[in-house]
């Protein structure tokens, strides 16, 4: 298949057949866990930039974004634990699950790479979260709605920050343009997954708790196209896409992220810190 029409149709890398809702948890719990995991892994990745930023001001800015995501993760994980009703705390959930039970988007577990990769990853996530939180502010789950309303303000700021950088790197020097284009090309294969609905998404949407992520794709596309254009960047045409994170089928990166995240609790279980 060739031609521009076909290049817009994603080719989704095969995920194992027979997707099962992990651990038999109710869809509502899994739905919230997924959102928590997105923010948890993103916070963990951004924390790696602290003391390594391109300048002091940006170090401080990245730390703020990391803290926002961490705060959202804590609220979402705590809520998921409450919904589950088995007494699992935010830390139990963050520190006690292994890869196959963690549900973040593949996008957020990708390495920081150079600053362009970090900016591209943020741009793609922020544009998604702005749409997501806007809709979820009206969730039938009032707690989730409250978290979403607060997170929306943060996501708007994050998007402003990542868009500004995407534009400056894309329309900066020849070198920064090349690096930014390479980053966009490299991470593009993880941009289908946020909008790929599965049974959990559809159940959550049907119950008024969540949203069918497919409806978020068009505004996301419009936003991304606008930023790429202003940044003088090309929208990638490679149709290859990967999914699976939502179902616990991750890239090889997540295991290492969890190893660092969970090290203390796994080594010294059951203690207060």
């Amino acid at each position: 298949m060739t031609g521009p029409e076909q290049s817009r149709v994603p080719f989704v890398a095969a995920s194992p057949q027979g997707m099962v809702v992990a651990g038999g948890l109710p869809a509502h719990v899994v739905y919230v866990l997924r959102l928590g995991d997105d923010n948890l892994v993103m916070a963990q990745r951004l924390g790696e930039w602290i003391s390594r930023g391109p300048d002091l001001e940006e170090d401080i800015a990245l730390a703020n974004v990391a803290l926002d995501h961490l705060g959202q993760a804590r609220a979402l994980l705590a809520h998921a634990g409450a919904l589950e009703g088995m007494g699992r705390t935010e830390d139990d959930l963050a520190m006690g699950r292994a890869e196959r039970d963690v549900h973040n988007l593949l996008l957020v577990e990708q390495p920081n790479g150079d600053f362009a990769h970090t900016v591209a990853r943020a741009l793609f996530l922020d544009a998604y979260q702005v749409e997501l939180w806007r809709v979820l502010s009206g969730s039938g789950d009032a707690t989730l709605g409250g978290i979403a309303a607060k997170a929306l303000k943060e996501a708007r700021y994050h998007l402003r920050h990542s868009s500004a950088w995407a534009v400056r790197l894309g329309d900066g020097t020849a070198l920064s343009h090349a690096r930014m284009q390479a980053a966009v090309d490299d991470l593009w294969r993880f941009t289908f997954e946020p909008f790929a609905a599965d049974a959990v998404d559809l159940a959550a949407a049907a119950s008024g708790v969540g949203v069918d992520p497919e409806v978020l794709r068009a505004p996301w596309d419009a936003r991304i196209d606008a930023v790429l254009t202003e940044a003088t960047l090309e929208r990638p045409s490679d149709p290859y896409q990967r999914t699976g994170g939502r179902q616990g089928f991750h890239t090889e990166h997540l295991g290492h992220v969890l190893t660092e995240l969970q090290w203390m609790q796994r080594t010294f279980p059951g203690l207060h810190w």
Partner: protein
């Protein structure tokens, strides 16, 4: 926090410097010019000078100012101004600029004697 760093024998004297220390090195790209940051803490208050930072352009300066100077709920509004835009009074002229006003007490309420019986004025 405060950190005193002791001098070692053989260190260049603290007062030594050469012009080269202060020269910008080619290819050494910095974070841009300096900006002064003003923050309005609450509605009804003025913007107050909070400090300065470096940024290449106004939008970045604004975002940075928000990140650096308002983390502790210190503001609802931020101004950033290139430091080069500030015109400062000359300290050599401070006496003629400001001291004459010290000799003009008639501009202050306390100069005027109103008997207590009149009530608050």
């Amino acid at each position: 926090m405060s950190y005193d760093v002791p001098r070692m024998a053989g260190d260049a004297a603290w007062t030594e410097h050469d012009a080269d220390d202060h020269a910008r090195r080619p290819g050494d790209e910095g974070s841009g010019p300096m900006w002064e940051v003003f923050v309005r803490q609450r509605r009804g208050m003025s913007h107050v000078h909070a400090g300065s930072l470096h940024a290449p352009d106004a939008e970045t300066a604004l975002l940075n100012a928000r990140d650096v100077y308002t983390r502790r709920s210190e503001g609802v509004s931020v101004w950033v101004v290139p430091s080069s835009a500030v015109t400062a009074s000359d300290p050599d002229n401070a006496a003629s600029m400001f001291e004459p006003f010290a000799e003009q007490p008639y501009r202050h309420a306390t100069y005027y004697d109103i008997p207590d019986e009149v009530g608050h004025m």
